[in-house]
Amino acid sequence: MADLLHNLLTESAKRYPDKDALVYLDKKITYRDLDLLSNKLAATLLEKGVKRGDRIGVYINKSIPSIISILAVLKAGGIYTPLDPNTPLPRLVYMIENAGMKHLLTSTKKLDTLKKMALEKIPLEAVILTDDLAGVNADLPVRLIPWNEVSDRAETILPNNGSIETDLAYILFTSGSTGVPKGVMISHRTSLTFINWSCKEFQILPEDRVSSHAPLHFDLSIFDIFASLKAGATIFLVPEEYSIFPKRLIRFIRDQGITVWYSVPSILVHLMVHGSMNHYSFPALRLVLFAGEIFPVKYLRELMGIIPEAEFYNLYGPTETNVCTFYKVEHLDPEERKPVPIGKACVTNEVFAMDDNNKLVTEMGKEGELYVRGPCVAQGYWRDPEKTEANFIENFHNPEYSEKIYRTGDIVTLDERGNYHLLGRKDTMIKSRGFRIELGEIEAALYVHEGVKEAVAIAVPDDLITNKITVLIVPILPGSFTKIEIEKHLSRLIPHYMMPELIEFRSALPKTSTGKIDRKALEKN
């Protein structure tokens, strides 16, 4: 069994060299070639000075080169750090600096963005352009390396770089409550815990045709890529624009004969609402996995009717644990309105809920905060000991040994069958369209505006996208700026999916007895 993520590729390349590993529209690459090319890129990275443990940015739209990049970073002993291709510039710069990246793997499509970055201030040593075959002259204060420098290399055997399974494999940035994203650190062993579990639980086979819909900075992609590589299956990369045009995506799933689909519910709802998905059939689709947000029951029922032969699973887990509980949806009563449970722990980890008195929740109907224990738990937040200590805590449940457990901040309850149900959050993190959003990050962005005296972001429950965001602002000087100016200001700092649906001005905000903004009072109205 592979002890390092990239060995999943090496082993499958030995067993299935001529099988297609990746497909992107009409482009394909076999396991053998994926192995060879990722070796060449890894060798190039090592030549450019990459050392074991270096964080290397992968800033590329979903494509074959983006996957080659991930594997190459791992092979070079680096920690791959995927960067959302659509993230605003300040956020991008923050992540690059916070992770201390010296090397970036990107594409010519991102050159305009790179030009806007003050690259002379960010100490990047080299930027490899994974789609540049000619050596583009971009006049940037950083060394640009064209792809032919990689592909023209002779076949390489990489030296053993001494990586071990507790080394970090990747860092995934998630929304941070204080205004800046936090980097979740995941080791090879932590990642393989999930991959081995999911491969076995869902019986992923070489014949499987697995979609890769989730972006690379989202942990759903770990299953798409690595469970497939482990099984020797073929990964069908979904072009990013297909998520926008429902008919394209529907036809993609059907025509490519996708057998395994994994995504947030929102995209599936989008296909049903705007794509007339019920006009189509998907005979090859055997497994539908969904995670990241509550699946509105009426749409889940509709989907199960559209694909009656498939198995449906609700997977739950924050980025800090990947998937820690799951639930197989067998049958939905026509009258059922309650969302499906998050289920029970995966066999590889343990979960438990603690109530407000720090007592274990064992009875049906009692509420508590969910904690996760086991090798699926991340190593913490990159260079943030304070937040790490706050959320990865001592195992008070078993104080005999110092294993860290993760507090999810999710409030759950148990049902009569021992399944957990998600009730809500302890704090101000919300989900909207499957995206994890810290309301504090939006508020921090608002406070950057010099005209804002006070601001609060609140979630308004929504049937389709789980939550919409409303922002209330108290200006220092009433009338000194408009809603449009605030939108413009925000759009420069936060990703699209965090943009509030409604902006309102207030003369004052209600306060609690301790002087903090009274969110609960605002949420009630």
């Binding site: 659509n86 429902p246 008919k247 989008h270 705007h274 794509g275 939108e487 759009s491 699209h496």
Partner: protein, 83 residues
């Protein structure tokens, strides 16, 4: 009716949240550039149908018609002349 100006105005204000129209080039890719996403696409469609009195059917919601401002304007003009 200046279709192009109306379309650009909507996109820069409601989708890009940038009050200056000059940020949007007629040939700039709305999709690759990450300007339009699945939420904003359907809000845009509702706007176009109401503003120009056209009905956009599901088959027409495809990459070609929404690729750039110019492509969108051409599409709208075609729909308006047919009705």
């Amino acid at each position: 009716m200046d279709v192009k100006a109306i379309v650009k105005q909507y996109i820069v204000m409601e989708i890009m949240h940038q009050p200056e129209e000059s940020v949007l080039d007629d040939e700039a890719s709305l999709i690759e550039g990450g300007i339009i996403d699945s939420m904003s696409l359907f809000e845009l469609i509702i706007f176009l149908e109401e503003k120009f009195g056209i009905t956009i059917n599901e088959e027409e919601v495809d990459i070609e018609n929404f690729q750039t401002v110019q492509a969108l304007v051409n599409f709208i003009n075609k729909k308006m002349h047919l009705s």
